[in-house]
Symmetry: C2
Subunit: 300 residues, 2 copies
Amino acid sequence: MSVNDTLAPSANSFFLPVVSVVGVGLIGGSFAKALKNGGHAGCVLGVGRDHASLERALQLGLIDRIATLEEAGKASDFILISTPASVLGRICEIIGPLLKPGAIVTDACSTKVQVIEDARQSLKERTNQFIPGHPIAGSDESGPAAADPLLYWNRNVILTPLPENSGDDIKRVRQCWQACGAIVREISAIEHDRIFATVSHFPHYLSALYMSMVCRSDSSGLALALAGTGFRDFTRIAGGSPEMWRDIFISNKEAMLNEIDVFLPMLEKTRQMIEDSDVDGLHAWLEQASLARKKWGENK
Amino acid sequence: MSVNDTLAPSANSFFLPVVSVVGVGLIGGSFAKALKNGGHAGCVLGVGRDHASLERALQLGLIDRIATLEEAGKASDFILISTPASVLGRICEIIGPLLKPGAIVTDACSTKVQVIEDARQSLKERTNQFIPGHPIAGSDESGPAAADPLLYWNRNVILTPLPENSGDDIKRVRQCWQACGAIVREISAIEHDRIFATVSHFPHYLSALYMSMVCRSDSSGLALALAGTGFRDFTRIAGGSPEMWRDIFISNKEAMLNEIDVFLPMLEKTRQMIEDSDVDGLHAWLEQASLARKKWGENK
């Protein structure tokens, strides 16, 4: 199957007259562009707090019009909220009462339990129109200029549907992401948050913590000049948006604290191995880690 | 300046009749091939414990002959020891008494203080012939098949010369690495070890610790299936050689323990921020890390 086969309307036929993207950065902009390229969207409205960024999205053809949240709420058949998690509740509060009966709202937040709680409180009897989602894709770059209609190609998108959601609405969200070339999976919100604490949020925490430690050290100038490719890769994620990650850590608090509390005794144990020059203990630990990483790499 | 300009003999004219590489993997093999390509080596001898690996290096043209350590010690004008740090002392013990008067020995180990101590104990009055070095280059791949004469192109190589070394011998080691396209710097062994604990050894420690934590978790199967590009980059270094990294951690023990002991209270502090939903505290920390990483990326 080629890129064209998947993005062509014939392979996945649906049409949404009005699509809105709230937060037109890398995630929202890439989604909008993929839907437009596939002929699945009549008109794409872009909503955001940064007008320059919206103008850029318009110039780049990611969106067809800049709109207010109220306009988007009233007019849309499909709304993707791709903002930091902390503002999702407020957005839902505004659009909730304005939504057309058949309109679908989804999101791209990296945590789900708290986001669902916020959406329920804001959308109330319209909660059934909200299908929570999380596309697993990213880039070093951010903002509309980084948007790429192929960003989701062969990437996972997780949906964590609510008991209130209709099968047809879930199917429509699936179709949208599949039109972007993504592989769509459904799991529970709790499982989602536990898994992403492990494979995404906690590594970000360690990388950011390490990065702030390095730049506080006395010899950080020469150290940073001599840092190589290992450092580059290990710290890449630490360059992410402080606002987004702050929200993720707080909104996935329980799972994050659990990760830290599992990590801490392992850190203390391996620290002791180093102090004791425990050749066999260190070798067994490092070999397990190395084999696990190699095996993962082979399956990707 | 093009690659050919730098690798051409005319740009950096010297000739070593017999060069030996002890440990013909990625590091040693790449060095050997670059010297051969530049016309700087008459005959390259390969020494190692794994005969199949040496045969492969011979087939690939990285070395001209397989030799014993004794043969290499007697015949060589220049010897690069590119083995795990723990065996350097034993290698020096064997080659020390056999070395020709003008022969130069250098190494590629990632720690320097302990390696220098081991070399001194083994080489004794011949310690002046040992110029400690550390090329800052690597790859996901290892072994002779991964060797690449351009591996060191535009990479840093650190020398930590001893008071006993002659200026001419230091210059010769510089020339060899410059012939590989590297940028050569000199710093003290203590400073080297402190800096590389920070920018290399400690990130490896965190990455390996995290990787072993993930594969012990109950839901590791699905978690690993959903892990994305952030996970991939953050854990890449954890795939490294357990033997090499075990030796590095032990041989750079003091600096490693210091890194862990600086990290631990920062981990406890940020854990508390998450527990307290400290929006401002988390934002300030993550912003510092993000800006530092972006600034580093721009300068690279």
